[in-house]
């Protein structure tokens, strides 16, 4: 009961501060929380990353293995990004099959990386129509502190950048691992996801869990290295004006440039 009252007080505080252009953690409206990226944390995986975005923490592992291509996509390798919120990450998370929020999270992270064409999937083909390389990028939220969209996206990108891709040869039409030979994944561009929340008339970048609890609507915009906009997802139970959305797209580009510099150091 008490905690409900505290939550309400915190929301009031957030709204009061925003009226004066301030955020409860002292950030400016268009400022992200510090992003800490550590790679290679799961040595048994082909790539991995541990990402902290403020209080949110993600672990991503990449597994690379030969696979059959999807029908009608025989000239492309397979890239699948997933995301799940571990029950230890959040008192409200529940074990079991993913709910609609987790499904949206996983699909938005996946589309951000897919639509920017971060990886040249044509280079992951072993025998056209028969055998390709599959990359599975699985992200687990281990501490939930708001803005899981961006945190999972950053961890997925960092996990991919940290990858060593094993080499496969074809013998008797089947792929065989060539021990000891690896390469970097074929990276074409660096996607950066930037999520903004609308709280009243204010747009804030990278909302915390407390800010999310009082936001009206949410927008996630992914841009690529060339400054193009490649994926967008609006969420939340209210809307935006067109002007607000254009403002958001500019913010996403500006914030994206900063994050991309952190990614470039990993390459």
């Amino acid at each position: 009961m008490n905690s409900l009252i505290l939550d309400q007080l915190k929301r009031d505080k957030i709204l009061d501060l925003l009226k004066t252009g301030k955020r409860i953690d002292g950030r400016s409206l268009d400022e992200q929380r510090p992003l800490i990226i550590e790679t290679g944390v799961i040595p048994k995986a082909n790539g991995s990353a541990r990402v902290k975005l403020g209080d949110t923490e993600i672990i991503t592992g990449v597994k690379i293995q030969p696979d059959k291509p999807f029908p009608d996509l025989g000239d492309k390798g397979i890239l699948i990004c997933t995301a799940e919120i571990l029950p230890l990450a959040d008192p409200n998370a529940e074990p079991g099959p993913p709910n609609e929020e987790v499904i949206e999270l996983a699909r938005v992270v996946d589309r951000g990386i897919r639509e920017t064409e971060m990886i040249d999937l044509h280079q992951l083909v072993l025998i056209e129509d028969k055998s390709v390389i599959g990359m599975f990028i699985d992200s687990s939220v281990i501490d939930s502190g708001g803005n899981l969209f961006d945190a999972c996206s950053y961890a997925s990108v960092a996990g991919i950048l940290s990858c060593t891709v094993p080499k496969y040869e074809i013998k008797d039409e089947a792929p065989v691992l060539v021990e000891g030979v690896t390469s970097k994944p074929p990276i074409k561009t660096l996607p950066v996801s930037v999520t903004m929340a609308r709280i009243g008339d204010h747009i804030v970048v990278d909302p915390t869990k407390d800010e999310e609890s009082c936001m009206d609507a949410r927008i996630t915009i992914t841009t690529n290295s060339d400054g193009n906009i490649c994926a967008v997802q609006k969420g939340g139970s209210d809307g935006f004006t067109a002007e607000q959305l254009l403002e958001c797209s500019e913010m996403a580009l500006a914030v994206g440039r900063k994050i991309r510099k952190q990614f470039e150091k990993l390459m």
């Binding site: 639509e115 690529n224 906009i229 967008v232 609006k234 939340g236």
Partner: protein
């Protein structure tokens, strides 16, 4: 399978289905097509054929999902097995679950839920035949079905996509353009309040194209709104009677 690349646009901007850049496909909406549902609508939007039915406000099951301070809105977007080229498994896919969520969030700002605490309004959408832009068409039908059910609303919700095809921004992307084009941006608008309640993008747009694309979609939403209004008027105010 070898497939010849579809010619998506002629040099003078005529699209593969004969439309101009800023032209909508044919849209027709019928209101009140179902007897059991409290409200319903059937839309044909290009080759999309979609039914929406609304039940509620009614009791919530299971009860622990009820909200003592407000009604809740639930939404199910579902595709018939025969709605697409390859027969679709009838179990809801992850794609359908995500679309159900974004449609719910696009309708929610328009529906006045506060007056119906502890109840639920259920919106059920069935895509009988799918074409490009099925989520927008589904939203358009659902908004009309909500109005037909007598649910108090702040505004309608009108949805339409724009996109980038053969390097040009086009209104209302069809199936071929969606699959072989460069970008698809579905948008939903509360037309009188000017509020955008759904926005997604798959593809690649320069910042200035992003702006043009959104504005193009908004023009489409407003035209869709006129079709929705007309359909409701026809049912409720034909011959001057309620």
């Amino acid at each position: 399978m070898v497939k010849t690349m579809t010619q998506l646009m002629t040099e003078d901007g005529i699209r593969c289905d004969g439309r101009r850049l800023d032209e909508l496909r044919n849209i027709s909406i019928k209101v009140g097509v179902l007897k059991n549902a409290d409200g319903s609508a059937y839309i044909e939007f290009g080759k999309n054929k979609i039914l929406a039915g609304v039940f509620g406000p009614r009791d919530v099951h299971p009860k622990h999902m009820a909200n003592p301070d407000s009604g809740i809105l639930r939404c199910r977007y579902h595709m018939s097995p025969f709605s697409v080229t390859e027969r679709k498994n009838p179990a809801p896919s992850r794609r359908e679950i995500e679309i159900s969520k974004v449609i719910k969030e696009a309708l929610q700002p328009a529906v006045i839920l506060k007056d119906y605490p502890r109840t639920v309004i259920d919106v059920f959408i069935e895509v009988l035949q799918a074409d490009g832009g099925s989520r927008c068409a589904a939203l358009d039908a659902a908004a009309v079905a909500l109005a037909d059910a007598g649910i108090p609303m702040r505004d309608l919700v009108s949805a339409c996509a724009a996109g980038k095809v053969a390097d040009r921004i086009v209104l209302d992307v069809n199936n071929e353009e969606d699959q072989e084009g460069q970008a698809d941006m579905p948008v939903a608008l509360m037309p009188n309040m000017g509020k955008i309640t759904l926005l997604q993008l798959d593809g690649m747009l320069k910042p200035e194209e992003f702006k043009t694309c959104m504005q193009t979609a908004l023009v489409g939403c407003k035209r869709v709104y006129e079709v929705q209004r007309k359909a409701l008027m026809e049912k409720y105010f034909q011959n001057g009677e309620q």
